[in-house]
């Protein structure tokens, strides 16, 4: 018998926890682009876990964080969580836009996670470790965005089953 959508919820949540654990352990300003990639993966999987918990077929998309934030807005606990720190929501939206499959649909050149990208007009190839603007923010110890995102993700991971019963 094939799995139903809800069967995917716990595995996605478990994998999100695993990715989150790895993200906490990465020295963010020394492996900033890898940290960004992990963080995007965490929020994508949390979004898919939430979707599956709601009994919806998990969409084949890398923009699940957007779906997640939309779901959070429908629950008081989710709204309270989102109200804590607006910077996190904006940063996660930018991470999502930098996923290679999402970035590939944007006007080029568009900075992306994980893989180098090209400015076709200039013939220049960029790499995330050096050129990703999001990674530059993470690299700066004076900017607390990396820690804010991790704290938010940890809270969300713990409250997801309350937000989406």
């Amino acid at each position: 018998m094939a799995a139903v959508p809800r069967d995917w919820a716990d595995p996605f949540l478990e994998q999100a926890r695993e990715d989150l654990k790895a993200a906490w352990s990465v020295p963010a300003n020394q492996s900033a682009s890898t940290f960004c990639m992990l963080l995007q993966m965490v929020f994508e999987k949390l979004g898919k876990a939430a979707y599956a918990r709601a009994g919806q077929v998990v969409p084949h998309t890398h923009q699940a964080a957007s779906l997640l934030f939309a779901m959070l807005l429908r629950h008081p606990t989710g709204v309270a969580l989102l109200q804590t720190n607006g910077n996190v929501r904006q940063f996660v939206a930018e991470l999502e836009a930098a996923h290679p499959q999402v970035a590939g649909r944007q006007p080029q050149p568009w900075p992306q996670l994980e893989y180098p990208w090209e400015d076709p007009a200039a013939g220049t190839v960029f790499c995330p470790a050096r050129d990703l603007p999001l990674a530059r923010r993470v690299r700066d110890p004076r900017d607390r965005i990396a820690l804010d995102c991790l704290k938010f993700a940890s809270a969300l991971e713990k409250q997801l089953t309350v937000i989406v019963p």
Binding site: W24, P27, A28, N29, Q30, L81, T84, N85, N87, R139, D140, P141, R142, D143, R144, I145, A146, L147, D148, L150, K151, F152, S154, A155, L156, K158
Partner: protein, 92 residues
Amino acid sequence: MELAQAHRHADPATRLIKFFPANGAEEIRLLEVSEAAPTTGEVLPFRFGPDPAHGVDYPSTVILLSPREWQRIQSRELELPPGWNIASAEDF
């Protein structure tokens, strides 16, 4: 200290920043309590390497807590990592 000031500037909901002596280690240890921080019920240190380009010459470890978590630290329901002595911490 510039690092603490930068964090306070980035997060106006910061209510408290404490500096913890690192017992001889060359490390900056900060505990920050912010009303913008969600509650996880955990004390999770986050480490940065040194970044002289941004004026931070030493590695730093920051613990970000919600006010509720800070209360639990004070009432000893939650523990700080070993070596973080609250009695010797200084307020910023």
